[in-house]
């Protein structure tokens, strides 16, 4: 009985040790992975902020103005004139053509007129 207990406790101790070390190594691996991810995250954030800086460099009004000035023949861009801004309701209505019946009548008259002239 006592022997059995002894064997059991030795086995238990050994397996506990194995399990504990296993858990510890796994935890270490996870921690390693976490810090690796963290580093990657930092790197990505760094890249993002670098790209943002570059983007704001690229869209600087001074730079855009310079580019437009340099390629003015191709782009044909001009500074906006206040006269070009208005409200939609201030625009005159699009001129509409004559109704189809009227158009036929008009062209008939026109043909007559040209025919007579010849």
């Amino acid at each position: 009985m006592i022997r059995l207990l002894q064997v059991a406790s030795v086995v238990a101790a050994a397996s506990a040790a194995i399990v504990v070390f296993h858990v510890k190594y796994r935890a270490e691996a996870v921690a390693e992975r976490a810090s690796e991810l963290q580093r990657e995250l930092d790197r990505e954030k760094e890249t993002i902020s670098l790209l943002e800086a570059e983007w704001s460099l690229l869209i600087q009004p001074a730079r855009v103005q310079d580019l437009v000035g340099r390629h003015v023949e191709r782009l044909e861009l001009q500074p906006l004139d206040p006269k070009q801004i208005t409200r939609i309701e201030n625009l005159p209505m699009r001129p509409t053509g004559p109704a189809p019946d009227d158009e036929a009548a008009l062209s008939a008259i026109l043909e007559d007129a040209t025919g007579e002239a010849q």
């Binding site: 902020s49 670098l50 206040p82």
Partner: protein, 574 residues
């Protein structure tokens, strides 16, 4: 225990003890055993505790690597404009450092480093590396390529610190507002310094600063407006051969500064340029005699105090003599002038007579209320104190101050006072941080009656329609403004050959939203023989600025100008 005799067991010891002391059976032996057990428990317990603590701390110690990369902590928040466009940001650079006490062969290390950084002083470097010091910078802000090359050498005792370096994508675009940082990323000027003093130093001290967690600092500046102001100033400086140009755009209803530029300026990314005194921030640090621009203030205070009425006339038929001074008009009409005429013909005599009617006490009061006598306090640490004569100032000072001589103020100060003339009479300290209408109402001080402000709006508009500011007109935007041509002082005397011109404008005049102030220092005539007055150089510069920024700021151009009729009514009301 390498003897062959078996170790005494508990039973043996017990038996021996019993045998030795027959009188007190068991007691003493039991105590001894308990003591031994306790001792062993303590020993193994201590071992276990140590084991656990080692297990817990081991990971932290191995992270990073001691002398390879250290993260520097001088992170700064980004600075963005009112539309969240980046004005300043941190980028990471590497700084090369050495721990000389760990360097095994200083000569070899020196040669290797010098092969990558050829311009480094070898002797000095060798001397530094041969010492027993703990830490020494070798070179800061090295390029990634150089970092890689040095890293490959694997020299012991040499490492890199990742440092934040401030980067301004706009370069010179907003340099005077943003200021500058030193190599340790500490703000030394402008908004950067303000940020440090307002909160960043405290955050760093408390250790709360992390690289990416800081909220960006939003300014009231609009990068587009800022660019336009600077661009037009640079062009104007070239066109009129001026030695300096200053431009300010302020929201008259909140006091927010949307754009402020002073050229020549510097590239914020280049620390050396910032130290050149010729590139200083003239818009807040420089104080100047504003010249006739001040007639706007004089007319406003005379009308507001009730000593003059808009229909009153003042005698400008002959020069005004006070003591040994004689005040004359630049474009003399040689007759009595009404108040609108005094304003649009920019009559020194007329303005002087209006100021005399008000008296020096009243003039002082109004100047004080308009913030022209005290140092302007904004977020920018750099600010110039106005040069003001001591009270009670004599009659002649009252007269000269009426047309902007004998008192020097900063352009931003003038802009803030000018805003009060047109916005209904409210003075607000200008700010570089966003401010809502409600916040503005809390800090605004009523300095003029609303009716006075309305009259001033009409006078400003009239001056652009009929007076000296004609060339400031922009069709559709109802610009109103006042010219100012001040003679510069040279060797203690005013000289008519060197001028400082100003134009103070606001738009749209029926309900002003923005104020534009432009100053040009010593502009020359555009073509020889033509004048170089404010109306011929600063006024068109203001027009150019307004033509470009008004659409950006969402102001609708109007075919019919609602401010035109009341303005013209003033002129014909005599």
């Amino acid at each position: 225990m390498n003897t062959v005799t078996p170790a005494p067991t508990w039973h043996h010891a017990h038996a021996a003890s019993v045998a030795a002391r027959r009188g007190e059976p068991d007691r003493r032996g039991r105590w001894r055993v308990l003591l031994a057990m306790a001792g062993f428990c303590l020993l193994f317990g201590a071992l276990a505790v140590r084991l656990v603590s080692l297990g817990l701390t081991a990971e932290a110690a191995e992270d990073g690597g001691r002398n390879f990369v250290l993260n520097a902590s001088q992170a700064r928040p980004d600075i963005v404009d009112r539309n969240n466009e980046t004005l300043a940001t941190d980028i990471k650079t590497a700084a090369l450092f050495a721990e000389p006490r760990y360097i095994i062969d200083p000569d070899e290390a020196t040669e290797l480093i010098a092969s990558v950084l050829p311009d480094i002083g070898r002797d000095a470097l060798r001397r530094v590396l041969s010492t027993d010091a703990k830490f020494a910078y070798i070179r800061r802000e090295i390029t990634p390529r150089q970092q890689q090359a040095i890293h490959r050498f694997g020299i012991p005792g040499i490492g890199f610190r990742i440092e934040n370096r401030r980067f301004y994508p706009g370069g010179p675009a907003a340099s005077h507002v943003l200021g500058a940082v030193n190599i340790d990323n500490k703000g030394i000027a402008g908004i950067e310094k303000y940020i440090d003093e307002a909160f960043l130093n405290d955050l760093h001290a408390a250790g709360f600063v992390d690289d990416h967690t800081m909220e960006p600092v939003r300014l009231s500046l609009d990068l587009r407006v800022q660019h336009v102001v600077r661009d037009e100033l640079v062009q104007a400086m070239e066109r009129y051969q001026a030695i300096a140009g200053i431009g300010v755009v302020v929201d008259v209803n909140t006091g927010e500064v949307l754009g402020m530029s002073s050229v020549p300026d510097y590239d914020s990314n280049s620390r050396e340029q910032a130290l050149d005194p010729n590139r200083m921030n003239r818009a807040t640090v420089g104080v100047y005699e504003m010249g006739s621009t001040f007639k706007g203030f004089t007319v406003a205070m005379a009308l507001d105090a009730g000593v003059a009425n808009i229909n009153d006339s003042f005698d400008a038929s002959h020069a005004l003599s006070v003591g040994r001074f004689t005040i004359n008009d630049f474009h003399g009409k040689r007759r009595w002038l009404t108040v609108p005429e005094i304003f649009i013909y920019s009559s020194n005599i007329g303005a002087a007579r209006m100021a005399l009617a008000l008296g020096n006490e009243g003039q002082h009061d109004y100047f004080e209320r308009l913030g022209l006598l005290n140092t302007l306090k904004t977020e920018l640490p750099e600010t110039g104190a106005p040069i003001v004569p001591a009270m009670p100032w004599p009659k002649v000072t009252t007269i000269t101050m009426a047309f902007g001589h004998g008192v020097s103020v900063s352009p931003l100060q003038t802009a803030a006072a000018g805003a009060a003339l047109v916005n209904g009479g409210f003075y607000m300290t200008p700010t570089f941080l966003p401010r809502t209408i409600d916040e503005a109402a809390a800090v605004a001080q009523s300095v003029l009656r609303p009716e006075t402000s309305e009259t001033m709006r009409n006078l400003f508009r009239l001056n652009v329609l009929k007076g000296s500011g004609k060339r400031a007109g922009v069709e559709g935007y109802s610009v109103g403004g006042k010219t100012g041509t001040a003679e510069k002082v040279e060797n203690g005397r005013y000289t008519s050959s060197k001028r400082r011109n100003a134009f103070l404008a606001a738009f749209p005049m029926d309900a002003p939203k923005y104020l534009v102030l432009v100053l040009l220092d010593e502009p020359k005539p555009e073509t020889p023989g033509r004048g170089a007055t404010a109306g011929s150089n600063t006024a068109p510069t203001v027009a150019n600025i307004i033509r470009r920024i008004a659409p950006m700021l969402g102001i609708e151009p109007k075919v019919v100008d609602p401010a035109e009729e009341p303005a013209l009514a003033l002129a014909s009301a005599q």
